[in-house]
Amino acid sequence: MTGIVVQDVSRAFGAVQAVRAATLRAEPGRVTGLVGPNGAGKTTLLLMLASLLAPDTGTISIGGVDPAVDPLAARRLLGWMPDALGAWPSLTARETVVTTARLYGIEKPDAEARAQQLLTMVGLADLADAPAKVLSRGQKQKLGLARALVHDPRILLLDEPASGLDPEARVQLRVLLRRFAAEGRTVLISSHILSELEEVVDDAVFLVAGTVVDAAPTQSSVRAWRVRLADATPERMNADTWQVASSLGLAPEALAVDRGAVLVGFDGEGAAAQSLRRLVEAGLPVAEFAPAQSDLEHTFLNLSHAPQQQAQPPAPQPPQASTPAPPPPAAPPAPPAAPTGTEAGA
């Protein structure tokens, strides 16, 4: 089992070059995230992996099978969950899964047993006999997942699987994906919700304008950290900012404020750890000390992509900056919308 290997794959739709010479690997036993702004070519790439779209150039290997050469063999290996699930409106959830199983050549009794098992697993057992058209968006996503898993695929391609899911279902999805990876399956998942993706992926592939970009150089850049003192209140923010700034030897004007916390820029995890020690040694009641953005989000927003640069919240100056251009504390930067994720390029 070789997972997914994509080599120099390009695909154009008329004059629009959707994917350009993309090269990537997704290893068995690992969850690989496919990250990129809208229109970066994620869905096009997944369609090619799912054997529905032929690449113009380049080769794809799905578990050792080239889907352009032997699509039927590739389809038996892969499970594909599209971003928009088309449900047959008058079929029930159970019939949808059974029919899909039958289309994979699974005999009827086995198909019915499998449907029951999968619907229970994704949490749709209560709605198994409801017509698919009454399902909510999140429930349809669950149905789509059950459908993608019906033939026990070794390779899973998930396009925005978490959209529409409630928090509990997201946690379940995460657990499920980790389990698949532990079973040695290859999981490739695309998502905009970077903070969530971060909790489940082992590797990340960044796709910008159809090209896989190397995310490594951005690791050294400055990141914003949230520092919140115990029982912070809005009225106390000026005092807190001053305390943090003076303990770290910074100008208070150099620090921004975000939802009860002070934002401080650090040059790396070493600098952050050192500063934390100084804050604690100075007797400050530090209640929260964490990166303001997830790793993925940080990398994503720092990709060499002009619109992203503008969308990025201005990071506070690093502690060592000798010529500060302080942002006025009265105008806090746009906070990174952590709970809902960042749709870059929107």
């Binding site: 352009a68 039927l72 599209p82 088309g86 079929l91 899909t100 289309l103």
Partner: protein, 339 residues
């Protein structure tokens, strides 16, 4: 490609249709229409001895009319409708082949057209009350009707795979079917009227005693006549003409067709006769008048040509759609998304 897969796809299509109320309403309305038509047909054919055959032919023609009118709506969005609903890709990504999908959808569309025939069965049985039709007529007409159902279904499924928008593919299916049903009639009518020639009318001269001279002809008048004999072939591809022309005609003892099939066939075959030399022969019994039976016997059948034209149209549209639906897709119809 496998029969099992085709069956699953067809059942998937039909299940969705069977669960919509509108479908049953439509079949109910169709049954009511047939009830009225059958009643009228009994009245129409009450003059002859073969009432059953006449009623039977009318019911079969009405079924064909309904298939032609309704089938495009039901099959004309088979593929692009699924594409729009994002359910096509969900099927394409499974272990079924493009052929399974295409043939499964075709089978479902045929079964839908066949449902009209099933609703019509009681009315066909009613025609037995009036003596029924000849066994050969029954067999051939039902076979041709089945062929027409398949052809209209293939045209609909084909266009739905070639045209991106369901609305346009349904409309185009209607246009193609209308071209066969009405277009051929219009071409025939306009073509025949547009091409005119001088026709002469001849009759036997009378001698001085007032007796008919059976040795000679006398030209009386000449006038312009439309030349339908030059354009009759445009009707060949008309589904109703194919049905009528292919079905063996039964004649009453005096040489008249007993059913609608025969009457349509007589119309077509008469059009084949040249109108240029019209003769009134007083020396011959019946004045040289030829019965429909004689006219039909002296003319050529054309239904296989018409059916062949239809098969080529439907087959090429279906094959084109097959190529367009193949995955992994190289070219997509403009404006479509796979999923």
């Amino acid at each position: 490609m496998s029969l099992a897969n085709i069956g699953i796809i067809a059942r998937l299509e039909l299940t969705q249709r069977l669960r919509s109320v509108g479908w049953y309403v439509m079949l109910g309305v169709f049954a009511l229409v047939l009830l009225g038509v059958t009643g009228l047909a009994f009245a129409v054919y009450s003059w002859g001895d073969a009432v059953g055959a006449g009623v039977y032919s009318i019911v079969v023609n009405i079924v064909l009319l309904l298939v032609v009118l309704v089938s495009p709506t039901l099959s004309g969005n088979a593929i692009n409708g699924d594409r729009d609903a994002a359910t096509l890709a969900a099927v394409q990504v499974t272990a079924v082949s493009t052929g399974d999908i295409m043939l499964g959808k075709l089978v479902a569309a045929i079964a839908t057209g066949g449902a009209f025939l099933v609703v019509a069965l009681p009315f066909l049985a009613l025609s037995l009350l009036g003596g029924g039709a000849d066994a050969l007529v029954l067999l051939v007409s039902l076979l041709v009707l089945a062929a027409e159902i398949i052809i209209v279904a293939a045209i609909g499924v084909g266009l739905s795979g070639l045209i991106a928008r369901p609305l346009f593919s349904v409309a185009t299916t209607y246009l193609v079917v209308a071209a066969l049903v009405f277009g051929t009639l219009i071409a025939f009518g306009l073509g025949g009227m547009a091409v005119r020639s001088e026709a002469t009318v001849s009759s036997r001269p009378y001698d001085a005693n007032g007796n008919v001279d059976c040795e000679r002809w006398e030209e009386n008048t000449s006038y312009e006549v439309p030349r339908f004999d030059l354009v009759w072939w445009t009707l060949a591809a008309n589904p109703f003409v194919v049905l009528a022309d292919a079905t063996p005609t039964e004649f009453s003892p005096d040489g008249y067709p007993v059913d609608l099939f025969g009457q349509i066939k007589y119309g077509l075959r008469s059009a084949q006769q040249s109108p240029l030399d019209q003769r009134w022969d007083e020396c011959a019994p019946d004045g040289g008048y030829r019965t429909p039976e004689e006219v039909i016997d002296a003319s050529v059948p054309s239904w296989f040509v018409g059916l062949g034209v239809q098969v080529v149209i439907a087959g090429s549209l279906f094959a084109g759609a097959w190529a367009r639906t193949r995955t992994p897709a190289r070219r997509l119809p403009p404006g479509t998304r796979i999923a």
